[in-house]
């Protein structure tokens, strides 16, 4: 019985901490989520929606600002700030030793009160952080020196796909909308609001494609979506997301070899998911049936990585056409050889 009580206490402890943190956080947000607090300093305002989505919100304000007392702010004590390395020591050490460590702090990319988990952001959200220092046009220009179709690669991939050490990748597909009246390549990431007209009252955004709502997207569901005239203004573009993110952000020479991504063959890296924009600005992901990205036409009509997501069926059809052409000289030539004397006689 005693053992059971210890186990129960141990099991409930994290929940108690979270509940306690929640209570304290609510106290803090009573003032810090009001716009009027910005009169004392813009940095004092905390967007409750954004903060609520962070992992940090689970441990609560006082975990990082631990000298805050019940008398705050009347006690005039300036709240302390925890250092990122207090919790993220390994990541900090890796980042600090990288070339980036000298030029940007953790908070330049990850706002502690708004930071989202990797899987809740789009590749473009990630690149916005990079573009604060690495101007887009300069990046296209520098990559164009060695990378074919540099604009395509930079637009389609998060920078960290090449500039972190992850060995494996997941293909993530995002919804884009056609932007009429813009340039020829007129597509932009579709937001939750863009998808609202396609949703019935209370319907989840994922059900646009995951029709049966089983939390997985089959190839037939994907085909139905792509063939539907109803969704003509929405397309699915794919990108490669690293499975593991490291913080060294090196220039890795093996990424300059195109075959690192383009020669994996149709049997590798078939895992993919579909990212749906949610009302709160995050993305939720639903896994897609293995091999769907290799479908000949309607699986992912707007996602193709040359040398990688080719369809085996199409390769065979093409080979048969080529073989048909080869058969003409072989068959005609054979008959020609055996009838050569007839032509000499004539």
């Amino acid at each position: 019985m005693q053992g059971f009580l210890i186990l129960l206490t141990a099991a409930l402890l994290p929940m108690q901490i979270v509940l306690a943190a929640d209570a304290a956080t609510n106290d803090c947000l009573t003032c810090h989520s009001k716009n009027t607090i910005m009169n004392k300093g813009v940095h004092l305002y905390i967007d409750p929606l954004k903060y609520g989505l962070t992992t940090h919100s689970r441990i609560g304000c006082v975990s990082c600002h631990d000298n805050v007392t019940k008398r705050h702010p009347k006690d005039k004590v300036r709240p302390s700030r925890a250092k990122c390395q207090d919790c993220h020591a390994a990541v900090f050490t890796e980042y600090d030793q990288s070339k980036h460590g000298k030029y940007a702090d953790c908070t330049d990319c990850h706002k502690p009160h708004a930071v989202k988990p990797l899987l809740a952001v789009s590749g473009r959200d990630i690149n916005i952080q990079c573009a604060k220092c690495h101007e887009y046009t300069k990046m296209v220009k520098s990559h164009s020196k060695w990378l074919p179709q540099a604009t395509l690669h930079i637009d389609a991939l998060p920078c960290i796909t090449c500039h972190t050490g992850s060995k494996n990748y997941v293909i993530s597909m995002y919804m884009v909308k056609n932007v009429s009246g813009s340039s020829l390549g007129g597509v932009a990431l579709a937001s939750f609001e863009d998808l609202l007209p396609f949703l019935s009252e209370g319907e989840k955004v994922g059900t646009l494609i995951d029709i049966d709502g089983d939390g997985a997207i089959s190839l037939s569901e994907l085909k139905k979506f792509n063939k539907s005239r109803k969704y003509r203004s929405i397309s699915l573009l794919g990108t490669m997301m690293p499975e593991v993110v490291t913080h060294n952000y090196d220039i890795l020479d093996n990424r300059r070899d195109c075959t690192f991504c383009h020669a994996s063959g149709p049997n590798a890296q078939q895992a993919s998911d579909l990212a749906f924009p949610e009302k709160d600005g995050t993305y939720s992901r639903i896994p897609v049936e293995k091999g769907a990205i290799l479908d000949i036409l309607y699986g992912t009509p707007d996602f193709y990585m040359t040398g990688f997501t080719r369809s085996n069926t199409l390769s065979i059809i093409g080979a048969l056409i080529a073989a048909g052409g080869l058969m003409v000289p072989i068959l005609h030539g054979t008959l020609r050889f055996f009838t050569r004397n007839r032509r000499k006689e004539q």
């Binding site: 390549g185 195109c258 040398g307 059809i317």
Partner: protein, 218 residues
């Protein structure tokens, strides 16, 4: 005119210089496109040009060369030689009888040693089957493979158009199947080129412009 063993041959100037230059440039371009294309689609099986990037660059250069050469050929025949329609568009007679007669010759009479029913002249270079084949290749397949290739070379700036025509997979699939058809055509074309008066007479004609033709004594 040359006479030997009762057979007479004569030299006829069939193919003008600009067309011959175009032909060999095109031939080099299409062979390069086929080989680099194999490496681009099947990189884990074929590494012919060292790196994948080298294969892509060469494919792009060859593709642009073939595209420019196609437009030069088109404008030369349409506006300079003014024989595009006459040479390449089959007439009613070609469709009603020419196709059948020529096919019957290739697949039957040729093996019996009969004479080719069509005699090439500068104004009537191609037989009915050749006209139909070149019409399909030059006016349908080549423009389609050029347009799909140019779109694939510029995906980012032309993404809107690519989505409008059915997506990048449709484009890649079409480009690949058209390329396979070109390879098949190339096999047949090279073989048919050996069916002249001598196995090399058509080849020599495409190099020098002059075709040696057999004329039987009356």
């Amino acid at each position: 005119m040359i006479m030997s063993e009762g057979k007479t041959t004569e030299q006829i100037y069939i193919t003008p210089t600009p067309v011959r230059i175009w032909h060999w440039l095109n031939a080099l371009g299409i062979v390069t496109l086929c080989i680099t294309g194999i490496q681009i689609r099947f990189p884990e099986y074929a590494n012919i040009f060292g790196t994948y990037k080298a294969a892509i660059k060469l494919h792009d250069v060859a593709g642009v060369t073939v595209s420019i050469s196609f437009f030069l050929w088109f404008f030369y025949y349409l506006f300079v030689a003014r024989s595009l329609m006459k040479l390449y568009i089959p007439n009613l007679e070609d469709i009603k009888r020419g196709l059948f007669t020529q096919a019957f010759f290739y697949f039957f009479y040729y093996f019996l040693g009969k004479k080719n029913p069509h005699t090439a002249t500068p104004d009537n270079k191609f037989n009915a089957i050749q006209k139909m084949s070149y019409l399909l290749i030059m006016f349908v397949f080549l423009p389609l493979v050029i347009v799909s290739g140019l779109l694939l070379m510029n995906i980012a700036p032309l993404r809107g158009w690519i989505i409008m025509i059915g997506g990048i997979k449709f484009l890649v699939d079409a480009h690949y199947l058209l390329a396979c058809s070109f390879f098949a055509f190339l096999c047949v074309h090279v073989y048919m080129a050996t069916l002249g008066h001598t196995p090399f007479s058509h080849l020599r004609q495409m190099w020098t412009g002059w075709e040696e033709m057999e004329t039987r004594p009356h």
